[in-house]
């Protein structure tokens, strides 16, 4: 790499010519190796996926160009439409619950107490642990007869549940795992926001005798709003794509009750080896994530605008 850097004309010229004009080209050699890698493993797969989605492309048989018919097939595929519904429900819950709990956790970890650093480390362990390993233990805990969760419920007098083994409770149960796993990320982002808040508003609120809730609602919450938005956005992107937990615990079952788009995409591409149709799902899936992000961005802008208008 050093030979590459030194032999480029940009680097040689910068000795003689004025610095500012030539700075941009001279840094390019640093970026080129990564550019090659990104082109090969990110850009190329994308272009190729779009091309494949326009073809009838099955492993082991010849390919034929079919235009948009894979996309048309999606519109009348009940399993795909059902998967969109599952994905939206799963995502909405997996954004909202960690946001609420994570904000609460951030407010608590913003206080000073002995052992805070260590406990924060323990708190973020679920997010860093290997998802498949976690999923395995949750599966055992969900077990209707031998699982510890039903035992815990029985202690407080709640009847035993079927958890991930019943179509009606499977998505909430998976959201429970997702929330347990990713609340720490929201906490860390909001904690960063809390650290940036000035102390003056709190001092004057204390003088005015505001309650803890009032302080949170009218001072803290508006100030951490931008951070909550970022956390919500990241959470949305991750929840839509969630794969490991769902696949390892239910594989989309029982039946297809927890089959999200990502799980269906896996089945189409790597169980049925229908790569053309799978590529079409991948493209639509990506567009859906972009659309959801745009909606959130729009909602955020609207909210800021109403806040300014109402003078809050």
């Amino acid at each position: 790499m050093s030979a590459l850097t030194q032999s480029t004309p940009g680097a040689a010229q910068s000795d003689a010519a004025p610095e500012k004009e030539l700075r941009p080209p001279s840094y390019w050699p640093f970026v080129v190796p990564a550019l090659v890698v990104v082109l090969a493993i990110i850009i190329f797969p994308w272009v190729f996926t779009i091309w494949m989605s326009l073809n009838e492309w099955k492993v082991g048989s010849s390919t034929t160009f079919v235009g948009v018919s894979n996309y048309l097939r999606l519109t009348s595929d009940p399993r795909f439409i059902e998967a969109i519904g599952h994905t939206l429900v799963y995502t909405a819950l997996s954004v909202l619950l960690p946001l609420v709990l994570g904000t609460f956790a951030a407010v608590v970890f913003h206080q000073k107490f002995p052992g805070r650093g260590f406990l924060r480390g323990v708190f973020i362990m679920p997010m860093m642990a290997t998802p498949v390993a976690i999923a395995l233990v949750w599966t055992m805990m969900f077990h209707p007869q031998l699982g510890v969760l039903n035992y815990l419920l029985s202690l407080v007098g709640i009847p035993a549940q079927l958890w991930v083994f019943h179509p009606a409770t499977v998505i909430p149960s998976l959201v429970l795992v997702e929330t347990w796993q990713w609340t720490p990320l929201v906490m860390l982002i909001v904690l960063g926001g809390l650290a940036a808040i000035p102390t003056e508003p709190y001092e004057s609120a204390q003088i005015d005798g505001a309650s803890v809730w009032q302080v949170f609602r009218f001072i803290t919450l508006p100030l951490i709003m931008p951070f909550l938005f970022i956390a919500g956005m990241i959470r949305m992107i991750d929840a839509v794509k969630s794969f490991d937990i769902i696949f390892a615990i239910t594989q989309g079952g029982p039946g297809s009750a927890s089959e999200t788009i990502n799980i269906y995409l896996y089945s189409v591409a790597f169980s049925y080896y229908d790569l053309g149709y799978g590529s079409a799902i991948a493209v639509v899936f990506f567009l859906l994530i972009i659309l959801l992000a745009a909606v959130m961005l729009y909602a955020r802008q609207r909210m800021v605008w109403t806040e300014i208008e109402s003078g809050a």
Binding site: M1, A11, P24, Y27, W28, P29, F30, V31, P33, A34, V37, V38, I41, I42, F44, P45, W46, T49, F104, A105, V108, F109, Q111, F113, L119, R120, V122, F123, I124, M125, P126, M128, A129, T130, P131, V132, A133, I134, L136, V137, T139, M140, Q145, V148, L185, L188, I189, I230, K241, F243, N262, L265, Y266, F270, L275, G278, S279, F285, F286, A293
Partner: protein
């Protein structure tokens, strides 16, 4: 302390307890499952601390020669993918930060948004055509999808905060851009590189989706190996939990000992691949 302060303290500790206990209880239960014989694991009401500790569960997992193979596979895949990512990603982060080429970060964002399976379909075909399936190479390459964006993203952020004065002085003294990078910028960036390294290692080690498609019997990484144990050993929870704990233990230890770096990296970029 006034009564109000005492109440506040009680409330605080109660909140801390409520927040932290799901994590603590989960991992303790995982440990408990892994140390019990089948009789205790099938007992109702559940046994938390068994009378007889089943160290055998761990011995069984470690003794199976396949497990060692999978462990080495994981080491090779994560190690190679992380080192390659540092090799191309650290200079790239430097270049992008110094050129202030913020638009190039859009590619990283697209990579962040794209579901891991989308990469798998075309790359799976490529690997098939190149005859690479059955070796660890496809997994190393595809793990770059996870590690490269993490490293570039964190290094852009880090190099933007390091001072320019020293670098400019070195340039005026006649050093080449490469020399400046190698002898001035790189030594200052060590903490940033540590953050990028740790996060890349963790997310590559944890990755499951790439392995489930690309790994054959001999080329499984640990998460895939553990997943495959589920279907075959449905009923023996002890060894399963022991295997799960062994797989995730390196990551948990890293989380505890490198907490500061992880928190810094996650709040800066919040990058997660796959």
């Amino acid at each position: 302390m006034s009564p109000r302060q005492i109440l506040g303290q009680i409330g605080l500790w109660l909140s801390v307890f409520v927040i932290v206990s799901p994590a603590i209880l989960f991992f303790l239960w995982m440990l408990s499952l892994s140390l019990k014989f089948e009789i205790d694991n099938a007992a109702y009401p559940p046994v938390f601390i068994p009378e007889h500790v089943a160290w055998k569960n761990y011995a069984d997992v470690l003794a199976s020669n396949r497990f060692l193979t999978y462990f080495i596979n994981s080491l090779i895949v994560t190690g190679s993918a992380t080192l390659l990512a540092l090799l191309v990603g650290v200079p790239a982060g430097y270049g992008i930060a110094r050129m202030a080429a913020h638009k190039s970060a859009i590619v990283i964002l697209i990579a962040r948004i794209t579901p891991g399976l989308s990469y798998l379909i075309p790359l799976f075909l490529m690997f098939q055509w190149l005859g690479l399936l059955g070796t660890l190479v496809p997994q190393i390459i595809i793990h770059l999808v996870v590690t490269v964006p993490i490293v570039i993203w964190i290094m852009i952020g880090y190099f933007e905060t390091t001072p320019m004065e020293l670098e400019e002085a070195a340039l005026i003294d006649g050093a080449s851009r490469w020399q400046v990078f190698r002898h001035v910028a790189l030594p200052i960036a060590k903490p940033g590189i540590a953050v990028a390294f740790i996060l890349a290692v963790i997310f590559s080690w944890n990755n499951f989706v790439f392995g489930i498609v690309l790994a054959g019997r001999e080329t499984r990484t640990l998460p895939v190996a553990v997943y495959n144990m589920i279907s075959f050993d449905q009923l023996s929870w002890g060894p399963l939990a022991a295997a799960a704990l062994i797989v995730t233990l390196p990551v948990l230890l890293l989380t505890v000992f490198a907490q500061r770096q992880i928190v810094a990296g996650l709040t800066a970029g919040a990058v997660k691949g796959g």
